[in-house]
Symmetry: C2
Subunit: 360 residues, 2 copies
């Protein structure tokens, strides 16, 4: 017994895990340096919550659609399931991804590079759901309310997580009411039973545990719309704030890890790159701290225009110390800046990615 238990082969399996940033609420990042698949397995998908997980009941399976006045409609999950479905591979990135890298330092969850994951979302385009219904000429935004709610400093009472989208984004054919992730029902931690999926935007827009969709004739001003998820560019005042929307062009060096020791010889430098505007056209690598640059090889997903790309370069490393940089360029002409745009809450970090290695 003593012998068999300990020596089981199963016990030698080696795998990465989520990296805990907080437990109440649960915030854990993906072990992104070890994720080589197009579709992140559920257990490696990052978790980002503002509040405790909501308690679901039979009503949770009814989605309310309303014009905020007289019209109210309830759609059951089974109705969604009977409608034509769209499946898209979409990365979701927390607006605070890489916050830990800002200088001067910024308070908040100290996300390193793993507040991003992607996979296959299946659902019904929101515009199909709204077809022939509540939309009028005066509609300006659509507000999405999740079942998650809790306390927020400076606000009295319990507040729900609510976000709005401008009409054109809400009605884009790829904005989905998703009910499946990687061919499985959405998990409770990622929005079961319904999650809005908004490709190209930071993931605060992809509201989880969706329970209410409201069409409004004005601009929405909830705390998650106009206080949080705003870029505050000034250190000492809250002026000139700008809403967080589209993903910045970005890349992450997955391997080698920073400050690792390598044996001299051939090594593969690899990573991912993504953007919220067009597609990645190029990833440039430097092995001398930016003096010279080389193009990486790109591998694209066959199936999705939104997917991150995988990039890599195989290279011989002689003894010495190296600073490796990666810089992604997108089809809208954006590239990663040398220094990220600093803002009080630490959103949208996308400076050129950097690792140090020593070859022995």
């Amino acid at each position: 017994m003593l012998v068999m238990e300990g020596a089981s082969w199963m016990n030698k399996k080696v795998k990465p895990y989520l990296i805990t940033r907080s437990l109440q609420p649960e915030n854990q990042e993906s072990p992104i340096h070890f994720i080589k698949k197009w579709e992140t397995p559920l257990h490696h998908f990052y978790r980002r919550n503002h509040f405790p997980y909501p308690v679901l009941n039979e009503y949770s399976y009814w989605l309310q659609v309303t014009d905020g006045q007289s019209k109210k409609r309830y759609i059951h999950l089974s109705e969604l399931l009977s409608m034509p479905a769209t499946t898209l591979t979409v990365p979701l990135e927390c607006a605070g991804n890489k916050r830990e890298k800002f200088s001067p330092k910024v308070y908040g969850e100290q996300w390193e590079e793993g507040a991003i994951s992607q996979g296959k979302w299946t659902g019904v385009p929101l515009r199909d759901l709204l077809k022939n219904t509540e939309l009028t000429m005066e509609a300006q935004e659509i507000v999405f309310e999740g079942a998650d709610r809790g306390l927020k400093p400076g606000i009295e009472g319990v507040v729900p997580f609510k976000r709005s989208l401008p009409l054109e984004k809400a009605l884009h054919r790829d904005t989905l009411i998703a009910y499946q992730y990687n061919d499985q029902p959405l998990s409770i931690k990622h929005g079961h039973p319904f999650r809005l999926i908004v490709p190209n935007w930071y993931a605060m827009a992809s509201v989880k545990w969706l329970q209410k969709i409201e069409i409004i004739k004005h601009k929405f001003t909830g705390p998650f719309q106009t206080e949080d998820y705003m870029y505050y560019p000034n250190e000492n005042n809250n002026q000139e704030k700008i809403p967080v929307t589209t993903l910045n062009v970005n890349s992450t060096i997955q391997q080698p890890l920073t400050y690792s020791l390598l044996k001299s010889g051939i090594h593969k430098v690899e990573g991912i790159a993504w953007t919220g505007q067009g597609k990645i056209t190029e990833v440039q690598l430097s092995f001398d701290d930016g003096r010279t640059w080389t193009k990486a090889n790109l591998a694209r997903s066959d199936t999705s225009v939104y997917s991150w790309i995988h990039w890599s370069l195989v290279r011989e490393f002689k003894k010495g110390e190296y600073i490796i940089l990666s810089r992604a360029v997108d089809s809208s002409g954006r590239n990663q800046p040398d220094t990220a745009f600093w803002n009080q809450k630490g959103y949208g970090y996308n400076a050129v990615s950097k690792v140090h290695v020593k070859v022995e």
Copy 2:
């Protein structure tokens, strides 16, 4: 089906995980900020390997004891199990724990604060095993060889992990050949079936997968004894090196996490402290970056002189930014320095621990 699967209550369980530093070999740190128990559960015990996991077979359950010449003895696990056992709560800390904090930066696994775990080890004192046997007056050191082996830059062929202890440390009554952790057989990842446990020393001394014990009449000079696990204090040469042995006096602030946002009000500041020399007598906290200091409350293990202590202080926090420091003092008069002793390989970091928080 769709409904039931996703909504299962089990799926809402929130727990921390190991933090991956490398997968080949496996190096993962404990989520130390969330470990509140005296005995770290096995799945939260940090993993530190030099090589792939060894392949065990029936011979692995025989421990060889030799004087390196004529005498050779083989002891089976069942014989160890029949001897009087000692159980001790002992923390094991990797010499590279907190390496990530050194400035200037140091290459190697970038351990943050979790390359330390503790639990209950059960085994036979080495000195009981050696009683009436191979020891002669000329014996100077005892060498311990693990079953793990692999390649090492600069050395030809496959090398085993081997470490020695001076006779007095090897024969201390608390130096154990352990075969159980937290009342369970040692797991394959932590040395099954035998692991040396050397209280008070950094954990490279606690050799896993122990298969051979050799009594020698000279000083041992293997690469893990005289190249690695040495403090090299000079940045540009390898002179004046000092072996890594006893644990430094140290502490870690578990909560709050650095750069976290707190609501104004009462919060508990808590952590652990440990030493390899005597016991922890005091933990001092500062909330103003070291200008003034307050004593923390200490909780000691009833059962072990080696155990880390838990410390805490409940305090009201008003709005503002704070730099919280913790500094442990031990009974040998050592305390944590303001700046750690820098060394090329980044061992033994124990500067005063620091977190930044903002209270809203």
